[in-house]
């Protein structure tokens, strides 16, 4: 594994990305300790500009709530939503992609038509309708994001499985009497892992963007303090207190940027070995 780190760290951007992500995760974990009071509590008069009052580094929002505490608790929500929705999307996408790729013809046709069908609908619009239908609690937000983001996973896994399937070591495994499921599970998926990991990191980023857009439109769980909510709430006071929507926007951008950089770093670190295989 050491050469994995060596190659990963060669990509400077990836290291920066990792640092930012670790910082954001630290904030998320530290949130309940650093700011024990709920981010919703009104601590001071509203529209206190940042750095003006000691103890309220980033000032207060339209209701006098601590912006910094909102950022910390918001980090927790954004990462949670991003991570869990990606995992759910993977658990939907990978089996569909693997079966479509491995079993081919009829199964492949049906599953691919199904995936294509989902991809045709504009995903953001579908997320909006799903949230309008289900009560927008955090659980449903995660489910909606997962439902709109699994098709790319299915397509990627199908392509990987197709290319691996006619590799000779898979034919050898068939000859050695292993069952199809065992082959998929032990032989094909481990080799299809690297591109999936890279895609997963990008999916977390897209999920965070999607969650913030949804809560900006007021379609997210009202009892949860998230970055998107902070921007949405501050939108109407854009003229008087522009920093209230500027700061959470930067937080989202940095986190998503970090995840993208890490994705590229993973791509460099994981792929050369595979590339040498195809030489």
């Amino acid at each position: 594994m050491s050469d994995f780190w060596f190659r990963y760290c060669k990509n400077r951007g990836a290291v920066i990305g990792l640092i930012i992500l670790v910082f954001v995760i630290a904030c998320a974990i530290a949130a309940p300790f650093a700011f024990p009071r709920s981010p919703w509590s009104m601590v001071q008069r509203p529209f206190l500009p940042p750095f003006e009052m000691e103890g309220l580094l980033l000032g207060t929002d339209a209701l006098g709530r601590n912006v910094l505490s909102g950022l910390f608790h918001g980090a927790r929500v954004s990462l949670l939503v991003g991570l869990v929705s990606t995992i759910v999307a993977l658990t939907i996408g990978i089996p569909i992609g693997a079966c479509a790729g491995y079993y081919g013809n009829l199964v492949d046709d049906f599953l691919m038509r199904f995936t294509e069908f989902f991809q045709t609908i504009p995903s953001f619009a579908l997320a909006i309708v799903l949230l309008a239908i289900f009560q927008p609690t955090l659980g449903y937000v995660i489910l909606s994001i997962a439902i709109v983001s699994w098709p790319p996973v299915a397509r990627l896994v199908r392509a990987e499985v197709l290319s691996l399937r006619n590799r000779e070591f898979i034919e050898a495994a068939t000859l050695s009497g292993q069952s199809n499921l065992r082959i998929i599970w032990h032989q094909i998926l481990p080799n299809a892992l690297p591109p999936i990991i890279v895609l997963a990191s990008l999916m977390v980023a897209t999920a965070i963007l999607l969650e913030s857009s949804l809560s900006f439109l007021g379609l997210s769980d009202p009892n949860v303090m998230s970055w998107g909510y902070m921007i949405g709430a501050a939108r109407t006071v854009l003229r008087t207190a522009w920093w209230l929507s500027f700061i959470p926007g930067i937080a989202i951008m940095l986190t998503v940027l970090a995840l993208n950089l890490i994705g590229e770093g993973l791509n460099d670190a994981l792929n050369p070995r595979l590339r040498s295989l195809e030489k």
């Binding site: 000779e168 070591f169 000859l175 050695s176 009497g177 080799n191 595979l274 040498s276």
Partner: protein
């Protein structure tokens, strides 16, 4: 007179590669109209030197010492523009992979005309006329239609001819050919070699020919240079080097080349029931039509093949690519379901069985694969690769481990290999592991599908010896599929020659390769390069052909 002289050229590899210099002080000269061959195994630096001449070194690779003088000008000193003016006009080059050598989105004619455009010669209409002549000259059928075709509509051989046409467009002084025929069938290879020879004589241009096949060297080379890991090991007149090699490495290479000679086939007891009997086996591929309105494309891969394989015997199946030999092999191991025909293994017909009975049968026929890099699971340790099969059939872990140890010893690898990953082994070693895996379930029949084609000649020889040794020790019955008749001759007792899915000839090796009955087999044999060299060698060593 010397056209080109290279003086102690060295080329550095980017940091982190397996050795510092790709080429260490290489020196040679190339005269007008002369054919100079550079021969060596993969990784010997022969291609690198060719690329250096025309200044097409890959990224990160730079020539750090020496000089390349062409018409009193040191090419290494030239800037990119001057070098461009030179490429295609004075020095041109053709490459190994014809299938990917042409831009898939441009018509053939346009790609040929580009050469003139690059050096802004001739008007557009003249360029088209000239292109037609060139296509005619390189022997392409129906150039009028061909000029507007796209690369994917041409065969490998035809595409190589187009590349040659492009290289010759401006009648260059030097043609560099970097293994142009390695990826082609032996018959097409012969045609391309003749074409190059004919054009060389017609235009009096010098040819620098890079190859790993000594047969080719024997046929076309005036002078030859033998390279090993970046250094020149021996150089001189072709006959001198081939007939009486001075350097040990050259001698080893020459000995490793499989000769078309073959010993007396030991008589086979015919009464025994055959271990494997195939009768009128056929297989057609129906490519699934990807649309409702378009009819599917049907390709008949194997047509009515029948033969029997006896215990301890090895039958070779030879033929060009597309002859159906691999498809036949895959049908035997039931990776494919044949349309019709019977495959009897130990008396039981396995052609149409499926599910658990197929699974039970699987262990009785095993396969050794062609590409060492794709036949082993890169994510699994060797010990898991060898024991997976046994465990799948219910052997407990320890006995499987022990069996794996013996197998490794059997194929000449030490036990420490168990805990290592495939990418830590060389091509030859991986092939040995592939063989060990095939033997793990002690099958009754082994199918070797082009088992050695991806290996260098020297390693090829070692693996073939291993197979021969295993055959005697374990009294293995084997089916050996290969496109190289010399390799087949070395290993097989009887040989089947296939062409377009049909069995063209079948009989003992001595009779099929010595006195072939059908014209097709004869054309295959004649196409093998280095025939007269071999005859001369045999005379020298007093072996009667």
């Amino acid at each position: 007179m010397t056209l080109l002289s290279v003086k102690n050229l060295s080329i550095a590899l980017p940091t982190g590669s397996d050795r510092a210099l790709a080429i260490k002080n290489l020196s040679f000269t190339l005269d007008r109209g002369e054919v100079l061959c550079i021969v060596g195994e993969s990784g010997s630096g022969k291609s690198m030197s060719a690329n250096a001449l025309i200044g097409l070194l890959p990224e990160g690779v730079t020539s750090c010492e020496g000089s390349i003088n062409f018409e009193e000008v040191d090419l290494l000193k030239l800037n990119e523009d001057k070098m461009q003016a030179l490429r295609g006009r004075d020095i041109s080059m053709i490459f190994q992979e014809p299938l990917s050598a042409l831009n898939p989105l441009m018509r053939i004619g346009d790609q040929v005309k580009e050469v003139f455009e690059a050096h802004n010669l001739l008007t557009p209409s003249e360029r088209r006329k000239r292109a037609l002549e060139l296509l005619q000259e390189v022997g392409l059928p129906d150039p009028i239609k061909m000029i507007d075709a796209y690369p994917f509509q041409l065969s490998g051989g035809q595409r190589q001819r187009v590349v040659i046409a492009m290289a010759l467009a401006l009648k260059p002084k030097i043609l560099i050919a970097d293994e142009p025929t390695t990826a082609l069938d032996v018959t097409t290879q012969a045609q391309i070699l003749n074409l190059i020879e004919e054009l060389r004589r017609k235009y009096g241009m010098a040819v620098l020919f890079i190859t790993h096949d000594f047969g080719v060297v024997a046929d076309i080379a005036d002078r030859v240079i033998v390279m090993q890991s970046g250094e020149v090991v021996e150089a001189g007149q072709a006959n001198a080097v081939l007939m009486s090699p001075k350097h040990a490495y050259t001698r080893a290479l020459l000995d490793a080349i499989p000769r078309l000679s073959f010993g007396e086939a030991p008589p086979k007891p015919t009464d025994q029931i055959p271990i494997l009997s195939i009768s009128n086996l056929s297989m057609t591929f129906r490519s699934r039509s990807s649309g409702i309105f378009r009819k599917a494309r049907v390709v008949k891969a194997v047509i009515d093949v029948s033969f029997n394989l006896h215990k301890g015997e090895t039958i070779g199946i030879v033929g060009e690519s597309g002859s159906g030999k691999s498809t036949l092999g895959r049908c035997l191991v039931r990776l494919l379901v044949p349309d019709k025909g019977i495959i009897k293994v130990g008396g039981q017909d396995i052609s149409q069985i499926s599910g658990d009975s197929l699974r039970q049968h699987r262990r009785r026929i095993q396969m050794v694969f062609q590409d060492p890099f794709s036949s082993l699971n890169p994510r699994a340790k060797i010990n898991r690769i060898l024991t997976e099969g046994l465990i799948a059939y219910g052997t407990d872990k320890d006995t499987a481990q022990a069996k794996a140890h013996d197998l490794l010893k059997l194929v000449g690898l030490d036990a420490s290999a168990m805990q290592r990953f495939p990418h830590e082994f060389s091509g030859g070693q991986r092939q040995r592991i592939g063989i060990a895996r095939a033997l793990a379930l002690n099958p009754e029949v082994i199918i070797a599908d082009e088992a050695v084609s991806a290996l260098d000649v020297s390693i090829q020889a070692q693996v073939l010896d291993l197979l021969a040794d295993l055959k005697d020790r374990l009294n293995l019955s084997m089916i050996f599929i290969s496109h190289d008749l010399r390799v087949a001759a070395k290993v097989c007792d009887r040989i089947i020659v296939m062409h377009a899915g049909k069995m063209v000839e079948f009989g003992p090796t001595k009779q099929v390769l010595g006195t072939p009955k059908t014209d097709y087999t004869r054309s295959l044999l004649n196409a093998i390069p280095g025939q007269d060299f071999e005859r001369a060698l045999a005379k020298q060593h007093g072996i009667k052909l």
